[in-house]
């Protein structure tokens, strides 16, 4: 029976040690920020949030999902702050009573990447709508987010301007990956296809394959970000005070400066534009 005792001791030891393996879960102050994969993948949060935590002692926990999912989570009350980049959805969020108020934070832009060989011959064109029409008419492979995200909605908005019904072409040259920005870029690189991406994810993406920037600079590729506190009147458990501290910080001169100073490979990425 000696063996049984050893076995039992090992088991108990293992169970006892487990709680010790947890590190920061017992943080007293934290807020949950529902944000998007585009923003997170750029590395911005990794760069600037530690400053906020250092200063206030509040741990900002970012859940990075598609804009649609982020908004749904915020509506459910599973987040304290919403930080996404689709103006129409954000305004609806506030007007429907889920959010307190929307603040401008920063903007960057979208670009269209494509294979170096540029089969649709759109490189350097200034008019993004015309370029996309060329891609569609040439039936050149194009990968879409297809996931109801801010980027996806932006993309669909642009397709609408071309007058082409891409949904009906889904599965042919137009492919909907249903993934985050990174996953979509992986797919586009693998298929040598055109893709609409936010500059942040693009700059930090390491698997470009044969893809290069084809179209940028069109004002319609403007990508503004907004931050909203989830309304505590709607969800009383929301950490309104701490969440507001975050919002105040990110639109403050310090937060704005940090955003402006964030670079990838020496290139600036976001332009801070909080008002006042």
């Amino acid at each position: 029976m000696v063996k049984k005792r050893t076995f039992q001791a090992l088991l108990i030891g293992l169970v006892a040690v487990m709680p010790l393996a947890s590190t920061s879960v017992a943080a007293d102050k934290f807020i949950t920020i529902a944000s998007t994969t585009s923003t997170a993948n750029s590395g911005l949060f990794d760069a600037i949030l530690p400053v906020f935590e250092e200063k206030t002692g509040i741990e900002p926990r970012v859940i990075a999902v598609g804009t649609g999912q982020a908004i749904r989570q915020a509506k459910n009350g599973d987040a304290d702050v919403l930080f996404v980049h689709h103006r129409a959805s954000e305004d609806a969020f506030v007007s429907e009573g889920f959010g307190v108020k929307r603040f401008d934070v920063m903007y960057n832009d979208f670009l269209i990447a494509g294979p170096k060989s540029d089969p649709a011959k759109v490189h350097g064109l200034k008019d993004v709508v015309a370029s996309m029409r060329k891609i569609a008419e040439g039936q050149k492979p194009f990968v879409s987010r297809g996931d109801d995200s801010g980027t996806h909605k932006k993309e669909l908005g642009l397709w609408k301007k071309t007058g082409i019904d891409v949904k009906s072409q889904s599965g042919t040259w137009y492919r909907e990956s249903g993934s985050g920005m990174g996953g979509t870029l992986n797919t586009a690189a693998g298929m040598n296809a055109y893709v609409l991406a936010d500059r942040g994810t693009w700059l930090s993406f390491k698997n470009r394959g044969d893809l290069v920037v084809q179209i940028e600079g069109d004002p319609r590729l403007f990508n503004p970000y907004g931050v909203i506190l989830v309304d505590p009147k709607r969800h009383p458990h929301v950490k309104a005070e701490l969440g507001q501290m975050f919002i105040d910080w990110i639109i403050s001169p310090e937060g704005q400066r940090l955003i402006g100073e964030f670079t990838i490979d020496g290139k600036g990425l976001f332009v801070p534009n909080a008002k006042g």
């Binding site: 709680p19 970012v62 993934s179 920005m181 390491k206």
Partner: protein
Amino acid sequence: MSDFAAAFSSAVSLIVGLDAGLAEIVLLSLRISLSAVFIATLGAATAIFRFPGRMGIVVVLNALMGLPPVVVGLIVYLLLSRAGPFGVLGLLFTPTAMIIAQAVLIFPIIAALTRQVVEDLWEEYSEQLQSLGATPARAMPTLLWDARFSLLTSILAGFGRASAEVGAVMIVGGNIDHVTRVMTTAIALEVSKGDLALALGLGMILIALSLGVTGAAFVIREAARG
């Protein structure tokens, strides 16, 4: 091929450099999967005791072994969301939620395999144990102990499934840095960033971990067999 070489070297440098971030993620992964295994095993033992051999339960259990992790994650998410029935507990996006999701996921495997083992053993033992005066309740711990080697295999199967899955823990945990990021979600993140070499490197570490746990279990088993 260069990806594999790059992957291997990034894995080695992470380990050799005793990367703190890596250690944190590894410990959390182990903690969550082992906790889930522990809970699922207790649940399985209870279930077997309370519902021995009921045909319907057996069929359902065996079917549930094929539960897609992402579906389990979704269901647990809906239950734990603030908008859901257990929202007040505030468990979403915590390691506890991940443990719950994984425990639910592996419970059918452990229960089905354990039940089979116990049933086979009961066939062999029942008359003698009855003769000695053991009631079924009293016999249960005896059967479980005597089946310990086979049970270890089923527990390892559960651990394997738990530590390998990414869908459920991604949804209920949110892959929050320093809080709910485990090996598999970290790998998924690196893939989405296009850093395939690092992702593969982490994958190699994850496999090594799995080997380590299985190997340790094997050693314990052989030592105990004595």
